[in-house]
Symmetry: C2
Subunit: 203 residues, 2 copies
Amino acid sequence: MLRMSRVPSIAPQTGTAAQILDVAERLVQTRGYNGFSYADIASELGVTKATLHYHFRTKAELGGRLMVRYTESFGSALASIGAAESSALEKLQSYVQLYGEVIRDERMCLCGMLAAEYATLPPSIQVEIRRFFDVNEQWLTTVAEQGREANTLRFDGAPAEMARLLVSTLEGAMLIARSYDDPARFDASARRLLDEMTPRADA
Amino acid sequence: MLRMSRVPSIAPQTGTAAQILDVAERLVQTRGYNGFSYADIASELGVTKATLHYHFRTKAELGGRLMVRYTESFGSALASIGAAESSALEKLQSYVQLYGEVIRDERMCLCGMLAAEYATLPPSIQVEIRRFFDVNEQWLTTVAEQGREANTLRFDGAPAEMARLLVSTLEGAMLIARSYDDPARFDASARRLLDEMTPRADA
DNA sequence: GTCTATAGGTGGATAGAC
DNA sequence: GTCTATCCACCTATAGAC
């Protein structure tokens, strides 16, 4: 389809398609998949709906590509945190901060939002939702294992279970914090959970 | 159609209005507020959309009354649990079970679902969402205080913060468990969190 | 690649007969 | 209380000109 064939590979993501994804992403994160329309994106970008359909034939395709981009971007951030020379606890704190930036932008996690609307979404998007959570849990499981091994993290049970607890708590805390327009609610719950995992001096 | 007009006042909630609320509740919990229409309810009940508008003038009014009924019903359940002669830990287990029944019915918490769509909802519904969370947090705060006092619960920090952490975790765990159609995911996260709050024999 | 124009469907909501 | 009939705004999507 020769999309953006002239854009030098050095300067990416400034084309129309990327702008559409940017606006769509914010709309899904704030209003949900069933809460925005092509007309919303078009008016914001100053183009027509037909233009959007040229770049993304259907809304389902737009949603799917949105999720793929989001998971890729998130995965890169996780890889970066994972590669750093920091303790497992510090890595978890960085992880929490990723979510914190989203909630401070008055958004919900893209994937948490779509998880709520799961039953109404096309299967191609449903698959991507689970993939996002899988990526998160795998990364967290590894960090949890390393942390307990090195005594920088303290918790009972399987690392994979702790990973799922972390994701659940952060997603839920975002959901509620947004209803109160109060990011501090997210911070408090995240901090309390991490505190439970911090090795105690008296132990 | 003379629907149940003869039912004695002893047998409540069998009228058309209650049936509409029942169907609407399930639809919101599975598909979200923006994921269902009057046509969905009407076809399921075998009536026309006009009938729905007779009982609930607007969708916003239907949504508001749905939330009020839900919070009332939930509040009754909490009062019942709170009045029982059981330990604070057992009360928390009963609380978790309330959510567990919802997820086992393949539903999301009505309020968690609406919290996701918060930005698209009429203010009259937004108010009710926060009220639901407030009711939950107040009840949990009381239970947490009593439990720590009686040494049947163990946790650091303010009881109100622990209450918020509990709600966040349960809501998030429901959100994710539903995407995997796996209630066990909810159970595992809930159990792990309660385990952290269980007094240890070696302490 | 973006436009105008429009198709075909569904959304919430109302008027008026019964 | 429930129906038929209808309104109009909005939805996703397409055809074809430029």
